[in-house]
Symmetry: C2
Subunit: 175 residues, 2 copies
């Protein structure tokens, strides 16, 4: 864990709706040393791992995943919301608290058997990350690990992702 | 210019609608050396510039802007679509071909007088970039430069941005 980074994260009450405590990493990204340290810690963790590609989940996952791919010297592939990717793609729908959502990947964005580091900013219930990991597998990739900056352990996201290796840097409990 | 990177960019006809030729940089991002080279060229260009902060425009601007901020050792600030940012923010509306769109920044994401490198993936008509540059100014920043990976010169985006320093790496004409 990297709890010394916690002080750069801001909590914003009642966003996006009343009663929700939003974990805002824009203050961490804004801070040159904290942002650099976040990427460097993840880089050190995966520098010697057998990873072929980094995949980021739209859109805050791009802000962590793209610098990490760059620093690791790997290609970067995108998981986006429905309708944003222009080429041949695979879609995966998943359940939200109310209703459904869908994410997509280009079919040619991962070669069969490539080992993938999947990146997002925050692990909450794990619904999006699980759908994203399965989408990577649909496209032919193998999930090496999934990395998050923040984890909300009260929401038990790891349970939904128990077949995968999970890393998170900062944990927010009881919030 | 960095025209040798052009071969990593894919054009997809009829996306998002019939008659539009979409410039798809996901193939460039996917390629480890091409992605690294893209960031390195921009880094070399701005390594000695007086830049305090990098600002990326959602969401492909995050994929270029965040690694560049990391490599430059600067903080990264976000310009997002309406309703995504949780804290106190400033909004700017701008005209699209049909209708209006809006982008937002956190009011505290730039300190007064900070010099900003604004980053997006593609310069087309320049409408979004102009609104984004003005939003940075609204928040108190000074635009040092605006950097794009791709430019479509036929759409005359530079005309709309003539008060700013513009860089682009690859130019697609007549498409």
């Amino acid at each position: 864990m990297s709890e010394h980074l916690r002080k750069y994260v801001r909590t914003v009450p009642h966003f996006p709706k009343k009663g929700i405590m939003f974990i805002d990493i824009t203050t961490l990204l804004n801070h040159p040393e904290a942002f650099k340290e976040t990427i460097d810690i993840l880089h050190r963790k995966y520098a010697d791992a057998e990873i072929d590609k980094v995949v980021g989940i739209e859109s805050r996952g791009f802000i962590i995943g793209a610098p990490l791919a760059y620093k690791l010297g790997k290609g970067f592939a995108l998981i986006r919301k429905r309708g944003k990717l222009p080429y041949k793609k695979i879609i995966r729908e998943y359940e939200l608290e109310y209703g459904k959502d869908a994410i997509e990947m280009h079919s040619d964005s991962i070669k069969k058997g490539e080992k993938v580091l999947l990146v997002d900013d925050l692990l909450a219930t794990g619904g999006t990350a699980k759908a994203a990991a399965e989408l990577v597998e649909d496209v032919g990739g193998i999930i090496h690990s999934i990395a998050f900056v923040i984890e909300l352990p009260d929401l038990h996201g790891r349970k939904k992702l128990k077949k995968y290796n999970i890393t998170s840097l900062i944990s927010f409990e009881g919030e």
